[in-house]
């Protein structure tokens, strides 16, 4: 396994600490003129999103984390397991509901998602920034009301609920920003 020396420490490095992958999000070099060098690092756990502060001395090393990003296709859900397929190798990967987190709201059969592998095992999946979802159920809208400040909840084909303008009707396709979970526009009627 590759190791990083303190002289290679920088923002964006993916390292392994106590068996877990971390992203270096801040790195400060501190050195009194006549003293030893210190490397003050802030690291984010890539799986749990927790933040860790560590201070290293010159000459210390950190193991590189084996993190790989692949493009996958969402296949289907089986019980509480989500099944994806690597577009290049056709290998299948299973993620638990916990690993998929809120992203289940966007998953449609065949959707291309990027997946992070840690030591070859899937740890997280990210859908495209914008997805189009068909509205399965909502209260009837007020015809002719195109104002976007009057909103209502709608239920889409994945079973998730989103807040939309009141003119959206059943059967419409809406575009959602997956980074915020917010309605963007009506894609088709």
């Amino acid at each position: 396994m590759a190791v990083y020396k303190t002289s290679e420490f920088r923002k964006g490095l993916k390292v392994q600490i106590d068996g877990e992958p971390y992203l270096m999000i801040e790195m400060n070099f501190v050195k009194p003129g006549k003293g030893n060098a210190l490397y003050k690092c802030r690291l984010r756990n890539i799986i749990r999103n927790t933040v860790l502060d560590r201070t290293y001395k010159g000459g210390d090393t950190l193991e590189a984390a084996d993190i790989q990003e692949i493009q996958t296709q969402y296949l289907y859900k089986q019980g509480t397991t989500f099944v994806f397929m690597d577009n290049a190798s056709f290998e299948q990967y299973e993620l638990s509901a916990e690993q998929v987190d809120d992203n289940w709201k966007y998953l449609k059969d065949g959707m291309v998602c990027s997946m992070l592998l840690y030591n070859g095992n899937p740890i997280a999946v990210t859908p495209p920034n914008h997805v189009e979802l068909k509205v399965e159920y909502c209260e009837p809208g007020v015809r002719g009301d195109t104002a976007t400040n009057v909103t209502k909840p709608v239920k889409v084909e994945t079973g998730a609920e989103f807040v939309c303008p009141s003119f959206i009707e059943m059967g419409n396709v809406i575009r959602i920003d997956t980074r915020t979970g917010e309605y963007v526009e009506r894609a088709s009627t």
Binding site: S7, K31, K34, G35, A37, L38
Partner: protein, 331 residues
């Protein structure tokens, strides 16, 4: 576009023009300050056969193929970590107060206050002891930065005030505890060397509080951190070393200079042992300096000041890249 090249903005300087104008003014002021006080401006080699032996300073080495046919000319040279060796040899030979504005190089030092190549102002004042040395440094900061005279604070009092411990007596455990109490991340990998822990506390808990309002000059460092300073004649546990801090930034380091060649040789050996114990390579003994000291160096106070950091303070910059046109990542 050059073949294979990419259109990129990294040819541009990182400093704004107004900051470089201020930098040029401060450079002129520096030369005026020392010249008016009778110091002679001197130049010594940046690339030299000898280098300072310090456990925490890594000089960059250069292969010198001079192609003169002289075998000794294809030796290794060192880019100086400060102009100290050359200036002290000149001091021994000429016996007059000297100053220099030059480039210094330190391998591996990159950060918001560090660039591997930087500008150093270094001066030696013949006949000055520690008090006169501190006074001169304070005057320089007053003139260049327009600050009030510096407040003197002992190393022990600075630690007591900001970390709540006595740095000369505290155990490593007590120092770790003091830093942790102040919310600092304890560096697990530091060796069991009290100076490593003192430096951690200094950098994390003490330095950030020093030199607000009026500059602070810290004096009375532990003898184990004497570097090239004399030990106090009445208290050999303390070195006659001092440092200037402005707005929480370390700007300069000064000594009542060590004159004893045998003592310097012993310190160089001990620094080399510490380097090797820490996995670094040893550095050659500074023989030309040792011979100069044996021939007789006048009693003096010497100071080295980081000019880029001075410009940072003067311009309110928080990153050294804002005050140099082409820092290492653009060099």
């Amino acid at each position: 576009m050059i073949d294979g090249g990419q259109l990129s903005n990294d040819w541009r300087p990182t400093a704004r023009l107004d900051r470089l104008r201020r930098r040029a003014e401060l450079l002129r002021e520096t030369r005026a300050f020392f010249t008016e006080r009778g110091f002679l401006e001197i130049e010594t080699p940046v690339l030299s056969r000898e280098t300072i032996v310090d456990r925490h300073l890594d000089p960059l080495s250069v292969r010198c193929d001079m192609e003169t046919g002289d075998a000794s000319d294809s030796a290794r040279g060192w880019l100086q970590t400060s102009p100290e060796l050359g200036m002290k040899r000149a001091l021994a030979a000429y016996g007059v107060s000297l100053f220099q504005v030059t480039r210094a190089f330190r391998a591996g030092e990159v950060g918001v206050r560090h660039n591997p190549e930087f500008t150093m102002v270094e001066w030696y004042e013949v006949g000055a002891g520690i008090d006169a040395g501190i006074e001169r440094l304070s005057q320089y900061a007053e003139r260049l930065l327009g600050r009030p005279p510096a407040r003197r604070v002992s190393y022990a009092d600075a630690f007591q005030a900001h970390a709540g411990i006595n740095p000369h007596r505290a155990t490593i455990e007590a120092m770790a505890e003091a830093g942790s109490r102040l919310g600092k991340t304890v560096p697990e990998s530091l060796p069991r060397d009290p100076d490593a822990w003192r430096n951690w506390l200094l950098a994390e808990c003490v330095e950030p509080h020093l030199g607000w309002g009026e500059p602070a000059i810290v004096w009375g460092y532990p003898a184990s951190q004497a570097a090239l300073a004399r030990l106090h004649p009445d208290d050999p546990a303390v070195a006659e070393r001092f440092e200037l801090y402005v707005d929480g930034v370390e700007l300069a380091n000064g000594y009542h200079e060590l004159l004893d060649a045998n003592e310097l040789a012993a310190r160089a050996r001990s620094q080399n042992r510490a380097r090797e114990a820490g996995g670094k390579t040893g550095l050659p003994a500074p023989n030309r300096l040792l011979n100069a000291m044996r021939a007789g160096m006048p009693s003096c106070a010497g100071v080295a000041l980081g000019f880029d950091r001075l410009v940072m303070i003067a311009t309110g910059s928080t990153d050294i890249r804002e005050v140099m046109a082409f820092p290492w990542d653009r060099a």
